[in-house]
Chain length 317, copies 2
């Protein structure tokens, strides 16, 4: 439904939720350059690859990454079957809502949580759990489903790029299988255009039925220097446009834009709107934007000041 | 050029290089079923995913896999810079053309050859080496470029499926970066629709330039039970049609077709034509077809008898 609304508006102004400030002009100028046949900056359609980070770029990532909220909910849902979690960190912290103890468990604790809640089940089972959760869970600040906390200006941008012959990919630090079940409906991005972090899976014949089983082992972390690796593994072409919001996107924007020659586009979403969403950057635990913000100035990446540049943030339903 | 010829012919008969035998009828019947709106077997376009093995399914794989011929040529080309290879297996065997000693080096020797010829360079460098080799190397039996030794009936099949709303993917046991540089031109399959085996790559800033560097470490083997894993990692949907030719495709065909319900299509190319190409199956070193041939009978997969079912094998240029 979101996408339909976007297309209808797009006939007059393809980016109606963007104010008429520099970022909108930069986007339109880039798209017009690369799509104008005969122009020295023209890019043939198959090469029009645009990559989008997800958390904080396409949807809200505070007060915590949505996938972490999912993992915490899963621990609570499965606690009855795991009496030992009452006395075992980081599960104890989750069950007691002790965010300080959870933070103290660090990355090691986080990986443990993810493995316990994301693995040891079939691929189909996991997809079902994610789909059911995403359909019912609500964000604590806005009291809305997470899939309604996607940025309307970015939905318009995705549609605008596709209308101009771009293929749009999500390149998320989050789990590829956490994003795929709903990305097509919400973003118009099919599963084969989602790149993300993953755990190992194994093919097994179970009672004569072919099954993919999720193992509790990290396979690939699609973040920071992993993003160009993930992009190359999945797409096999260098993107001509990249959109991110944090230091996790630094290498993706470098890989996309620093090619010495042809026209490229890099953009960072800077969360500056504490009233309508959140304001955070250099010191944030989730979505820290520090090194990449410095790099933006050097590399001529467009920085979106959410408060000044976005007319609307969410589509009111 | 190949694809243009195919499209022109397709207006009357989409599969002119196929004889009017059972396999052609099975393909057409499957495609008509899944594309007929309102039919119980109808499959929406985004779900029309077809996967194709490469070696022996889309192009010739005898007297050896083309990528192995590439690796042997690379050893010869680089031998001057590696005087130590004269006395070191498996390189010695390659330089002396001693295929028996090379076979004796086994899989371990093969991996060594691949690492030595496929790694320790940037992604761009490797793409260049592959592109130059594929443009000039010639197959020993037909004395033609390898990219002309693609099966005309399969090119027609790829085009026919795409004309019917299918997205076509290559799922090769060979190296993903060995196939990508020419797959779009030869098969009409873009790089983002190629799945294959890979070595690890690493993002590096080199003199201020972002670079992907190929490390001499296996990342993923896209063969046998790896094929469903690779398909899920890249595509994220279960295919509705799979095309292969050897035991390496067994699990891919199982994963595609054994879903208990909706209409699926599995096909194996059986090399039966020693005059026009090669004849081999259960005992072949390259492209062994044994377990999968038995499984075809049980699972109702269509087996193409190359000699009987293909009117032409290669397009005469
Ligand atoms: Ca982010
Ligand atoms: Ca094969």
């Amino acid at each position: 439904a979101l996408l339909l609304v976007t297309s209808a508006k797009a006939q007059s102004d393809p980016l109606p939720s963007w104010n008429d400030t520099a970022p909108k002009a930069a986007i339109v100028s880039f798209v017009e350059k690369v799509t104008k046949e005969g122009s020295p900056d023209f890019v043939p359609e198959p090469e029009r690859i645009a990559v989008f980070d997800n958390d904080g770029t396409l949807w809200v990532e505070h007060p915590m990454y949505t996938q972490l909220a999912f993992a915490l909910d899963r621990v609570k849902a499965e606690a009855a079957a795991h009496p030992e979690w009452k006395d075992k960190q980081p599960f104890k912290a989750v069950l007691e809502g002790d965010m300080k103890a959870l933070a103290a468990a660090g990355e090691k604790g986080l990986v443990e949580l993810i493995m316990e809640t994301h693995a040891d089940m079939t691929h189909d089972e996991f997809q079902k759990v994610v789909s059911e959760w995403i359909a019912t869970a609500r964000d604590p600040k806005f009291n809305k489903p997470y899939t309604e906390l996607v940025y309307q200006p970015m939905l318009e941008l995705l549609a605008y790029l596709r209308a101009n012959g771009f293929k749009t990919f999500i390149v998320s630090g989050g789990g590829i299988e956490f994003v795929r079940p709903w990305a097509e409906q919400v973003y118009g991005v099919p599963p084969e255009q989602v790149v993300g972090s993953s755990i190992k899976t194994q093919f097994q014949m179970r009672d004569g039925t072919p099954t993919l089983f999720r193992l509790p082992q990290v396979n690939f972390i699609d973040d920071k220097a992993g993003k160009p690796v993930g992009i190359n593994a999945h797409i096999g072409r260098r993107p001509i446009a990249a959109f991110g919001n944090s230091d996790g996107d630094l290498e993706m924007l470098q890989w996309t834009t620093m090619t010495g020659g042809s026209v490229r586009f890099g953009m960072l979403i800077h969360h500056t709107d504490a009233d309508r969403e959140y304001a955070y950057d250099r010191k944030s635990e989730f979505g820290r934007l520090d090194k990449a913000l410095d790099a933006a100035a050097i590399n001529n990446w467009t920085v979106v000041d959410m408060k000044a540049d976005w007319k609307e943030i969410f589509l009111e339903k």
